[in-house]
């Protein structure tokens, strides 16, 4: 087993676009679930809208890459509005059911052959990188050291990803430290109490839904930025992976989503390297290499269950704030 290679891969994943995408999605979900108490089980749908909005506006409508970003964010905002108006008055569990369904509807719309010219249906979309790469200020070459050696294009993606993440963190942090955030925390605990103090509860929940949705969409864009958009990514499992990352870090904190995503991805990369290597080395004789690789998803599921039961507040969270057992 080539441990050096394994660790090198894992270390490099700290800066991978996937990690940043998850961090953004988890941050958006933190706004929904951690701060507003909205049980959104369709965060994958928001990410899909971000990615597809970006790709379609470039490929079909010829927008520049930053136009695509704006379209992706706008699509998520509209989706949040449409979703929110009927459902925000529902009890939490009903919101969960509706959001799962809504995310699936979005994915199926992108999957159907009816829109194939625009969405690429099962093949997805790719080849939208021209204007993005053209805008790259970094001169061609390889930079970095050790496991973090990337070329100019890869660095451009990562820098933008970090900038987006930093901006999102700033916005969420500012909001939650303000009176607006105070109202939201109150709503999470008891809507009627906050209503009786003159606050329009529906409006706050809607604003949280839109904000979190837009941030998650940016996550979807960052994920698709270096490579391609594939409908098979935005399945319900993605939502649960994001939840795992979120809960691991601490759902009602600003930095929790970041730490959780980081650990989640590094572990994922580690396992995806270690497990097949173990099979090859004969340590896990009862599995094939492909099975070993998929084993990590099972482990994620188990980790999610254990987290929810034994440490729902995650690493950074405050136990008193977030327990599921009332």
């Amino acid at each position: 087993m080539d441990w050096l290679q394994i660790f090198s891969n894992s270390a490099s994943s700290i800066l991978s676009p996937a990690t940043m995408a998850y961090a953004l999605a988890a941050l958006g979900l933190a706004v929904h679930f951690g701060f507003a108490g909205l049980l959104n089980m369709g965060i994958a749908g928001f990410m899909a809208l971000g990615a597809y909005g970006y790709a379609i506006s470039i490929l079909t409508f010829g927008f520049p890459w930053w136009g695509g970003v704006l379209v992706g964010m706008g699509a998520a905002a509209v989706f949040a509005l449409i979703l929110g108006i009927p459902t925000l008055r529902l009890r939490g569990d009903y919101l969960a059911i509706v959001t799962i369904a809504a995310a699936e509807v979005v994915r199926l719309l992108f999957l159907t052959t009816a829109f194939d010219p625009v969405t690429g249906s099962a093949d997805g979309l790719s080849g939208y990188h021209t204007s993005f790469r053209a805008s790259n200020p970094i001169p061609a070459g390889t930079y970095g050291f050790g496991p973090w050696t990337f070329n100019a294009v890869d660095w451009w993606v990562r820098i933008l990803g970090i900038v987006a993440l930093a901006l999102a963190v700033l916005v969420v942090w500012r909001l939650m430290a303000s009176p607006w955030g105070r109202v939201l925390k109150g709503i999470r605990e008891d809507e009627d109490a906050v209503r009786s103090l003159g606050k329009n509860v529906f409006q706050y929940k809607m604003q949280a839904l839109v904000l979190g949705g837009v941030i998650a969409a940016v996550g979807g864009i960052v994920y698709a930025l270096p490579s391609a958009v594939s409908p098979g990514v935005y399945v319900t499992s993605l939502t649960f992976f994001v939840y795992t990352a979120l809960l691991l870090g601490g759902a009602a904190t600003v930095f929790g989503p970041l730490i959780g995503s980081l650990i989640f991805w590094v572990l994922q990369t580690l396992l995806s390297n270690v497990l097949p290597a173990m099979v090859a080395a004969g340590v896990l004789p009862f599995m094939s290499q492909i099975q070993a690789s998929t084993l990590r998803f099972i482990l994620v599921g188990i980790a999610l269950m254990l987290l929810v039961i034994f440490r729902p507040q995650g690493i950074l969270g405050n136990k008193k704030e977030l327990t599921f057992v009332k």
Binding site: W180, S196, N200
Partner: protein
């Protein structure tokens, strides 16, 4: 019968004269006496016009309600023809369990929608106005099961109560410069109020760490942050230990002194007699009596509502468990022996048949 409350009247202050005739109140009439014992404060009188009966008009009503009906399935929870709440006074809403008091509260504050009815608060119609808007118009309420937000600190709870906060708007909250100063002012006000309620030492503790009685005080203090005109308290004494009762009573009396109107629901008769200027009695969804605390308690309709129809009977004697000479001294022993238990049962069944038709 209904008062034209849209005409702006001067706020009526408490008058200490024991006159029973209706008087037009004026600010100059404020001969409020401040005795050494803080609890013994004079009651407001002269609040009504004419005979004290259910639905009687008030000299200066802050709320005028008409034809409010609320049914749940087949059950009529509230059926109030006409009700006026006097401004600047403390009104108690009493009645046995299931009388509809909390339902009426929920209807008046927008937490529930009636099947029919209109009501006016300080000249503005509130029918169909959602709860959060009602609160902004100067009417604030507390809940039977205290809703102190445990996951926020005491001072954060208080600041949440203030109205018109710039920082609560989504976009403006992103720029602290816009709301910082206002937030500091609100915090000052909050600390002042907390000091009055003797909760200032706990300002930075999570509200969940307060005792039940302290949470009630916090809820009341928080309600005052919005500087309301009308404070509606739903069973403020429920579950509060006697040590804190006095303090809560004083706070409610303070509210009146500062010109606010108070409407509270209670079961505790001592509290009612102690601080209420006016009493509205509900039973089975209707207002059965209104009046000042002392006379209303002697109203036969009220006694019936609370203690059962036949107050003169001792059910122990009627059912044959006890002999006439062991009868409850407040009852008529002889009458009790003559009445048959089966007749009372039949009366109950008959009423059931009537109502289910």
């Amino acid at each position: 019968m209904s008062n034209n409350s849209s005409a702006r009247r001067p706020k009526s202050k408490a008058t200490t004269t024991a006159s029973q005739e209706p008087k037009a109140p004026s600010a100059a009439d404020d001969t409020h006496v401040m005795p050494s014992k803080p609890v013994e404060r004079a009651k407001s009188t002269g609040l009504h016009i004419g005979e004290a009966a259910p639905g009687v008009a008030k000299v200066d009503p802050i709320i005028v309600a008409d034809g409010i009906r609320r049914t749940f399935g087949g059950l009529t929870a509230v059926d109030v023809e006409h009700l006026e709440i006097p401004r600047g006074a403390i009104t108690a809403l009493i009645g046995p369990n299931g009388a509809g008091k909390t339902t009426l509260f929920n209807l008046l504050t927008g937490f529930d929608k009636p099947d029919a009815g209109t009501w006016i608060f300080d000249g503005t119609s509130l029918s169909g106005v959602p709860a959060f808007k009602v609160s902004r118009m100067g009417q604030v309420r507390t809940f039977q099961l205290t809703k102190a937000l445990g996951l926020l600190t005491v001072v954060e709870n208080m600041k949440l109560g203030a109205k018109g906060q710039k920082g609560e708007s989504f976009w403006q909250s992103l720029i602290p410069g816009i709301w910082r100063k206002q937030d500091e002012e609100i915090e000052e006000r909050a600390m002042e109020l907390l000091a009055k309620f003797k909760l200032d030492a706990k300002a930075d503790d999570f509200a969940a760490s307060l005792s039940g009685g302290q949470r009630k005080l916090l809820e009341m203090a928080r309600a005052l942050m919005s500087q309301p005109q009308l404070v509606m308290l739903d069973e403020p004494m429920a579950g509060v230990n006697p040590a804190l009762t006095q303090s809560l009573l004083d706070k409610i009396l303070d509210l009146k002194q500062e010109g606010m109107t108070v409407l509270f629901v209670e079961h505790d008769m001592h509290m009612v007699r102690h601080i209420a200027d006016w009493v509205v009695v509900m039973a089975e969804g209707r207002v059965v009596a209104e009046g000042d605390p002392h006379t209303v308690m002697r109203d036969p309709a009220v006694i019936d509502a609370y203690l059962g129809a036949h107050q003169e009977l001792d059910l122990g004697v009627v059912t044959g468990r006890y002999s006439a000479d062991a009868a409850d001294s407040t009852t008529d022993a002889a009458a009790s022996t003559k009445v048959k238990a089966s007749d009372l049962e039949a009366a109950g069944m008959a009423e059931l048949e009537d109502t289910s038709k």
